[in-house]
Symmetry: C2
Subunit: 209 residues, 2 copies
């Protein structure tokens, strides 16, 4: 079975809920592949209206930019180092880090990243060795960012189905209930596959005062 690509950014609480949803569906036999989209890059003013990104997260030195830019890059690279230990390790690390940030409310920093590696049961020595090869991790991250750009990903979570349908799916309420998760996923599929050719359903939001 071909996998659904799931683009995420550790900064994003919606991505967290989207990863939890996919994790529940994986347990039911659905296949998802975790991929990375950078909100910092996607929203960067230098990239506004450009046909190709001018500003790449992967070109930034580790200590450059705003705190959320730095922690976003560090988290992506750490996840890619974890991925060298296999698919289950990737999921375990990704879930652990999203939960540390968005469920436990920790900052997205080295403590959270190391804690996630431990919680995920990674081979820590091997993971640290992989992290040291910064150039290789950046090259692999860059591929995801480039693919996300080609697809037109603009936010997380975005699921890209094997049949090519791809959409951002933003929801407020976490579920880990198998039945609820299945309904929620089926509703999303129904929207994407509707004969209507639905481009957008987006809630109106009263202006802030």
């Amino acid at each position: 079975m071909t996998a659904t690509d799931l683009f995420v950014d550790f900064l994003c609480p919606y991505a967290w809920r989207g990863v939890e949803l996919a994790a529940v569906l994986r347990a039911q036999g659905e296949s998802f592949r975790l991929r990375h989209f950078s909100l910092v890059q996607g929203n960067h003013p230098d990239n506004a209206g450009q046909p190709e990104p001018q500003w790449w997260l992967t070109d930034q030195a580790a200590g450059d930019g705003a705190p959320h830019q730095q922690s976003s890059l560090a988290a992506f690279l750490a996840a890619r180092a974890a991925a060298q230990q296999g698919e289950e390790a990737t999921w375990a690390f990704t879930l652990a880090l999203f939960r540390a940030r968005h469920e436990a409310g920790q900052p997205l920093d080295e403590a959270a990243i190391s804690g996630a590696a431990q919680a995920a049961g990674l081979d820590l020595a091997r993971w640290q060795a992989a992290r040291a090869d910064d150039a290789a991790l950046r090259a692999s991250l860059r591929q995801d960012l480039a693919d996300a750009h080609q697809i037109g990903v603009f936010g997380t979570p975005t699921y890209v189905l094997p049949d090519g349908h791809a959409a951002y799916y933003r929801f407020d309420h976490l579920t880990r209930d198998p039945e609820v998760a299945r309904e929620r996923w089926n509703l999303y599929l129904s929207v994407l596959r509707s004969e209507a050719g639905i481009g957008t359903i987006k809630r109106a939001k009263p202006p802030k005062r």
Copy 2:
């Protein structure tokens, strides 16, 4: 039964399909009220990031601004003059004008507006007399624009359900089939009323080259 408010702008082909959808559902007993949201105003640079609109379509002289701004204002005011002849007259005029523009491909001009009034079977003398009271029509349009702003409408069609749920619903394929329309509406309601608290489902769109 309380009506669903449907915010439209005659400029917008998605609004056209949204009005056609509502018209089919009306024939099945659903209740909709046609209201106006201005895309020109909503997207005006003077209003970007402002808590209250600084630029109002209703403050523009009839001959001011780009052609689409002028025709948008003229169409709104003509529809409000038609509305003085009752709900059925409003629907007939609105459908006729949307079809002239987006189905027949006519420009949104005085010929299209007058043609829609005739096609709708309006009392033309009465309609022209109502159109002459420009200030009253603008005041009534302003109320819709102000309400749309409070609700957070940003595009058309936006449906505002009696229970307060409100969302933009953009789809590519016209339907006038009662069963298809019902399914399409039920899918929209399912998204808005899902326990997930769905804020957005929006398709990724590859960048233009």
